[in-house]
C-alpha cells in the first residue's frame, strides 16, 4: 500500500477533524443554527440541546459532571481563565502560584502577567526526565499559595507529570490544582476525581475536533471553585464566560470526546506500537541520536529525538513531504531554541537538532516506515555536510572548543 503524500506526523500541533465529528456538526450550520441562549423558540432549544449533549460527552470523558464544564474559545483561553480567575477571586486568601518551567506559554505568559500585577510565582524546575520533583513542590508551598498549575503531558516531549500525586498534595494543603490537559485528554485516562483535579483545560482541535473551541472543567464540590470571569457580557456559562456559544464547534467537540472515550484504549495501544517501531527504526540505523525526556512516563504517540550534528530546520527541509516539528531556533518565530529542552538540561547544540514526531488516529504503519527511511537518509546526507560530524569522527571534543562568531575558531 503506497503512502499518500504529504504525510502528517505533527498531531501535537493539531489534528484533522474526524469525519464522524464533521458529520455531527453539519446540521448545526444551516438547519439547527439557533443561538443556544434563545430561550423562547425551538431554534434556540434545539441548539441548546446540542450543547448540553456535548457538555455531557465531554464531562464523561474526564469523570466530571456536565455542570462543571464551561465552554471557551480554546485551551489558551481556558488556561487564562483558570489562572487569572482564581488569582482574582482568592486574592484575599493569598497571591502565590506554583507552576513549572516546561508549561505551555499560555500558562507561563499568564503567570508573568500576574507577576507584574503583584502575584508571586514559583516556577519549579524539572529533572532530566522532564518531570517535576514532588519534594520541590512540597517545599515551595507557603501559607499564601492559592493555586498549583501543572500540565498533564507536555506538548513537545510528551512527558507525563505525576498528576495524581500532585493532586493529593494540593488537596492535603487545601490549594486548588489546575491542570492543562490539552495533550492528555482523549489520549490517556484523565479522571478529575481520581487525580484530585480542580480545574482542567481541554482543547477540541487536539482530539480530532474543530479549532476555535475548548473547555474548562471547574470543580463544584469538594471543594467548590469560584472564578472571576475574564470576559464580561451576557453572563453565559454560569457567569464564568460570556459570549454566544460556538454551537457547531461545541457539538463537534462533544462528538470528538465521545469517540475518544470509546476508542482510546485500542488507539493508544496501536499508536504506542507504531511509535516504538519508529524509534526502533531510527536506533537501528543511526548512531549519536538521543530521546529527549522520559521514555516510560510519556504519551504513547510522542517521540522527540535529537539527531546530533544535524540542524533541525535543515532536516525538516530534507523531508519536505513529511510534517513534523523541531526544537531548533531556526524553526521558531523568535529564533530561540526550545525552552522545554533547555529545561531538561539538553545542550543548546542538541536542542537545535531535535525533531518532534506526533502520531495520531490516521497514522499508518506504512507512513511510519516511510518517515523513518526519509529521516534516516536525510540525516546521513546532512552529516556528510556537517563540519561537526566530521570533527566528531576525527575525535575532536567539540565541547572543549572555543567558538567565535567570526575570524575562525581556536582549537
Amino acid at each position: 500500500m503506497a503512502v499518500k503524500l504529504p504525510i502528517y506526523m505533527d498531531y501535537h500541533a493539531t489534528t484533522p477533524v474526524d469525519p464522524r465529528v464533521l458529520e455531527a456538526m453539519l446540521p448545526y450550520f444551516t438547519q439547527n443554527f439557533g443561538n443556544a441562549a434563545s430561550r423562547n423558540h425551538s431554534f434556540g432549544w434545539t441548539a441548546e440541546e446540542g450543547v448540553e449533549n456535548a457538555r455531557a460527552q465531554i464531562a464523561s470523558l474526564v469523570g466530571a459532571s456536565p455542570k462543571e464544564i464551561i465552554f471557551t474559545s480554546g485551551a489558551t483561553e481556558s488556561n487564562n481563565l483558570a489562572i487569572k480567575g482564581v488569582a482574582e477571586m482568592y486574592r484575599e486568601k493569598g497571591n502565590h502560584i506554583i507552576t513549572q518551567v516546561t508549561e505551555h506559554k499560555a500558562v507561563l505568559d499568564t503567570c508573568k502577567r500576574l507577576e507584574k500585577a503583584g502575584c508571586e510565582v514559583t516556577y519549579l524546575p524539572v529533572e532530566k526526565d522532564g518531570r517535576i520533583n514532588l519534594d520541590d513542590l512540597r517545599r515551595a508551598i507557603t501559607p499564601k499559595t492559592i493555586l498549583i498549575s501543572i500540565m498533564y503531558a507536555n506538548n513537545e516531549i510528551g512527558v507525563v507529570q505525576p498528576i495524581a500525586e500532585i493532586g493529593k498534595i494540593a488537596k492535603e494543603k487545601g490549594i486548588f490544582f489546575h491542570v492543562d490537559g490539552v495533550q492528555a485528554v482523549g489520549k490517556i485516562p484523565v479522571d478529575v476525581q481520581k487525580d484530585n483535579i480542580d480545574l482542567l483545560s481541554i482543547s477540541a482541535h487536539k482530539l480530532y475536533g474543530p479549532k476555535g473551541v475548548g473547555a474548562l472543567y471547574v470543580r463544584r464540590r469538594n471543594p467548590r471553585v469560584q472564578l472571576a470571569a475574564i470576559i464580561d457580557g451576557g453572563g453565559h456559562e454560569r457567569g464564568m464566560r460570556s459570549g454566544t456559544l460556538n454551537v457547531t464547534g461545541i457539538v463537534g467537540f462533544g462528538k470528538a470526546c465521545e469517540l475518544c472515550q470509546n476508542e482510546m484504549a485500542e488507539e493508544s495501544a496501536r499508536l504506542s506500537r507504531l511509535r516504538d517501531r519508529l524509534k526502533a527504526n531510527f536506533f537501528g540505523k543511526l548512531d549519536e541520536i538521543f530521546v529527549n525526556g522520559s521514555l516510560s512516563e510519556r504519551l504513547p504517540h510522542n517521540l522527540n529525538i535529537s539527531f546530533a550534528y544535524v540542524e533541525g530546520e535543515s532536516l525538516l527541509m530534507g523531508i519536505n513531504d513529511v510534517a513534523v516539528s523541531s526544537g531548533s531556533a531556526c524553526t521558531s518565530a523568535t529564533l530561540e531554541p526550545s525552552y522545554v529542552l533547555k529545561a531538561l538540561g539538553v545542550g543548546e547544540d542538541l536542542a537545535h537538532t531535535s525533531i518532534r514526531f506526533g502520531l495520531g488516529r490516521f497514522t499508518t504503519q506504512e507512513e511510519v516506515d516511510y518517515v523513518a527511511d526519509r529521516v534516516i537518509e536525510t540525516v546521513v546526507r546532512l552529516r556528510e555536510l556537517s563540519p561537526l560530524y566530521e570533527m566528531a569522527k576525527e575525535g575532536v571534543d567539540i565541547s572543549k572548543m572555543q567558538w567565535s562568531a567570526s575570524a575562525g575558531a581556536e582549537h
Partner: protein, 140 residues
C-alpha cells in the same frame, strides 16, 4: 516560510561539499559560528600563491537550509576570484541572490565571515612561510 528556489537548489545540490587538506600551505580554513547558535560553517580555499587566485573551495555547514545555501553559494563565488576580490564579497549580495528573508540575513553574514576567516588564515600562513624563508635562504 517558503524557501526561494535558489535556496532549495543549493540545499538539494550543494556545490563543493567536502574538505581540503588544512595542512597544505596554500589552503586557508575558516571555521565560524557556534553549535549553540545552530550555525557552524567551515569554508576552505586553495589559493595559488603566485596569482593570488582562488583555485578551489570546499565547505561544510551545520545549519538551516539558508545557511547551507549561503555557504554553498560562497564557494561558487570565490572560485576564480583573487583573494582581494573574494574579501570584497558582501553578505547583502548573498541575501539578494538567494532572496533571503529578514530572519535569515544572519546566515549570509556568517558566510561572509567564513570567507574572510578562510582568507585571513591563508594570509597568516603565507606570512609565516615568508618569515621562515629568508632564514632558510641564509642558511644555504
Amino acid at each position: 516560510m517558503a524557501y526561494s528556489d535558489k535556496v532549495v537548489d543549493h540545499y538539494n545540490n550543494p556545490r563543493n561539499v567536502g574538505s581540503l587538506d588544512k595542512n597544505d600551505p596554500n589552503v586557508g580554513t575558516g571555521l565560524v559560528g557556534a553549535p549553540e547558535c545552530g550555525d557552524v560553517m567551515k569554508l576552505q580555499m586553495k589559493v595559488n600563491p603566485q596569482t593570488q587566485v582562488i583555485e578551489e573551495a570546499k565547505f561544510k555547514t551545520f545549519g538551516c537550509g539558508s545557511a547551507i545555501a549561503s555557504s554553498s553559494l560562497a564557494t561558487e563565488w570565490v572560485k576564480g576570484k583573487t583573494v582581494e576580490e573574494a574579501l570584497a564579497i558582501k553578505n547583502t549580495e548573498i541575501v539578494k541572490e538567494l532572496s533571503l528573508p529578514p530572519v535569515k540575513i544572519h546566515c549570509s553574514v556568517l558566510a561572509e565571515d567564513a570567507i574572510k576567516a578562510a582568507l585571513n588564515d591563508w594570509k597568516k600562513k603565507q606570512a609565516s612561510d615568508a618569515a621562515a624563508q629568508p632564514a632558510a635562504a641564509a642558511q644555504q
